[in-house]
């Protein structure tokens, strides 16, 4: 697909048709839905399961839903879940092994087709990053590979940024450029509720042909691009990405790391909600008679002391060292490791930090006082 083709238009009531077509093609459809006061991702059976007319207000350490007057299907900003949950699950049994060395069952046979609905541009980038880390290295992760194999990505552009979004700074949004099967822009006009549709792949083309659609007219195309330009303008949070890697590398002993550590709970929430944090821990469980053992893999966090435990003790004992390690990885060492930052600017780590630590503010502090070195107490 060249992406140069003229966008299409579907009416909002035909969104349900997309969903049923996906199901007919054998996909399990995952998408946004409201639960426990938040927009989370789970199986959605019809458009009625979507957060219709729901928006949200976010701040550092704060998230509340609000009612919208317009009946938008995608009028919310990313919530506490990310697609990582389905591609790189929080808990996986890797295998069961018996005492004679026989492996009884290995990695789940995930012959499943998953369709993700409402993937935001920043999330598309997060999936690209996970692909790079978990698929494209020397040792691809079989769990991720099996789950990633047949994923339909239905993206939705962000016409309204959230209070903690900074995707424009990270160059990942608010408009999706690539990596989707279909990409929608929601248009709420007096004359009707519709979606401008960009087709990214043959799979996407097939799907869109299963519902009533027409070519978008110039007004509709212009409106969509206006909305996205406005969204970019309205995004308040920013991070200066130029020179950021070097700034961080030369400020390893900056006093601000200790200042953040006074607030940081080392609870690990930021890493759990981050759509790209991929670290796991592996542990064995045995039965009482040592006849069977199971190997389990679980999401882990570099904010735990045990995470860096090696012979003799943890190498990142202080919370300060752990926060620095995490931020440095997201914004600096990730670039050296995988070619892009590990941060996509979704703002989840800001919203879901119980004490509201704001990565954009912390980086700003270091930039403002570039070169300061903490006084070492002997």
């Amino acid at each position: 697909m060249s992406g140069k083709e003229r966008p299409l238009l579907i009416n909002a009531q035909d969104f349900d048709g997309l969903l049923s077509s996906l199901k007919k093609l054998g996909y399990t459809t995952y998408g946004p839905t409201v639960r426990d006061g938040a927009v989370i991702y789970d199986v959605v059976d019809s458009a009625n399961d979507l957060p219709i007319g729901i928006g949200d207000v976010q701040g550092p350490g704060s998230y509340r839903l609000r009612r919208r007057e317009d009946g938008a299907l995608f009028g919310y900003v990313v919530g506490p879940h990310s697609w990582k949950r389905f591609l790189h699950p929080p808990t996986v049994k890797l295998y069961t092994i018996s005492s004679n060395g026989k492996i009884l069952a290995s990695v789940e046979n995930a012959n499943q087709k998953m369709a993700f609905l409402g993937v935001r541009p920043c999330e598309l980038q997060a999936i690209r990053i996970l692909d790079k880390v978990l698929l494209e290295g020397e040792y691809p992760d079989p769990v991720y590979a099996a789950r990633r194999k047949d994923v339909f990505l239905l993206a939705v552009n962000c016409v309204e940024p959230g209070e903690n979004c900074f995707c424009a700074s990270m160059g990942t949004g608010p408009e999706a450029k690539e990596g989707f099967d279909l990409c929608l822009t929601e248009l709420l006009r007096p004359e009707g509720h519709s979606f401008l549709v960009k087709v990214g792949t043959e799979k996407g083309k097939e799907l869109i042909s299963s519902v009533p659609h027409r070519q978008a007219n110039d007004d509709e195309i212009e409106l969509a691009s206006k909305l996205l330009a406005l969204s970019r303008e309205r995004m308040k949070k920013k991070i200066e990405i130029n020179g950021l890697k070097d700034l961080l590398y030369r400020n390893l002993e900056h006093p601000h790391w200790d200042e953040v550590a006074k607030r940081c709970l080392a609870c690990g929430n930021c890493t759990m909600v981050c759509p790209t944090c991929f670290c796991t821990t592996v542990s064995e469980a045995t039965d009482l008679f040592l006849k069977h053992a199971e190997r389990w893999r679980r999401w882990d966090t570099c904010f735990s002391r045990e995470f860096s435990y090696i012979h003799g003790g943890p190498i990142r004992y202080s919370i300060s060292a752990r926060y620095r390690h995490w931020l440095m990885h997201k914004m600096a060492t990730w670039v050296d490791q995988f070619g892009t930052p590990g941060c996509v600017g979704c703002g989840r780590c800001i919203t879901w930090c119980p004490v509201g630590i704001d990565i954009t503010e912390e980086v700003k502090q270091i930039g403002k006082r570039d070169g300061e070195v903490k006084v070492k107490v002997e």
Binding site: G61, P80, L265, M272, S283, F289, E306, T351, W352
Partner: protein, 259 residues
């Protein structure tokens, strides 16, 4: 060890509600296997038939709160090769440690008709303050699967897989929506050790801290956050001074909040 080679397991109770012992009995699907793997030599909650020590593994529930218990725990330590403290009482003093901030003599005078019959210590304290403990399993009550894991690990001679990170990690793995962030509720999860499976937040309530302080609890920062959320200093202090309130970081946080 028994003649048939099975290690001897003993379960002892001190000042406690018996809930942790019940957690062992709640291992319904696994109890028969446990009985095959070890001799349940002393476990009065389950059976009055006992086998004399020494014991290979001793599980101790409850805090030390009387002069008698203070002596008894030393004796039990001598009779157990491996001694494991189980539950909030045995590892932090438990709910009865709330008296540690008050005058226990006054309580006795108010509660008992004949206070002179009551012999008690001024403070209820964890087992580790009295004897060397080989492992502490947290919880009020303990998680039965963690009990099984600890037992299995000790029998196999390996380290038990008991994480010391926060309850938040369990909440997020489950996909539970954070009650602090989405409801402005006070929750001890960020400073509390995982292990319960994040039960309370899953039901829309803040964590009560039953599993005690996690490995590096930043209680000052969380206390500050509670105040920002509109919790009074007294209520915030009472949150920390709960089921594991005598554990040092929580004790200090409570005391600082009360001023």
């Amino acid at each position: 060890m028994m003649k048939d080679g099975r290690p001897k397991l003993a379960v002892f109770k001190f000042s406690s509600c018996d809930g942790c012992q019940l957690s062992i009995l709640n291992l319904e699907d696994e109890l028969l296997e446990i009985g095959q793997r070890v001799t349940i030599a002393y476990f009065l909650e389950a059976s009055r038939a006992t086998v004399d020590g020494p014991y290979d593994v001793g599980l101790v529930e409850g805090s030390i709160s009387t002069p008698h218990e203070k002596e008894l725990i030393k004796d039990i330590r001598r009779r157990c090769r491996t001694l494991i403290a189980i539950g909030a009482c045995a590892t932090a003093g438990g709910i009865q440690a709330l008296r540690n901030w008050k005058d226990v003599k006054e309580f006795i005078g108010v509660v008992y008709a004949k206070p002179e019959y009551i012999e008690t210590l001024e403070k209820a304290t964890p087992v580790s303050e009295h004897v060397k403990v080989d492992f502490e399993l947290r919880g009020c009550p303990v998680n039965k699967y963690q009990i099984l894991e600890v037992l299995t690990a000790f029998l196999a001679g390996r380290k038990p897989d008991i994480p010391s990170y926060s309850v938040c990690v369990e909440c997020k793995r489950k996909g539970t929506v954070c009650v602090v962030v989405s409801r402005g509720m006070a929750c001890l999860g960020p400073v509390t050790q995982a292990g319960c499976g994040a039960i309370c937040p899953s039901y829309g309530r803040g964590c009560y801290g039953c599993f005690g302080p996690m490995e590096s609890p930043n209680v000052e920062s969380l206390a500050e956050r509670f105040l920002q959320l509109g919790v009074s200093r007294r209520d915030a202090a009472l949150m920390f001074k709960g089921f594991t309130g005598w554990a040092e970081p929580f004790r200090k946080a409570g005391e600082v909040l009360e001023g």
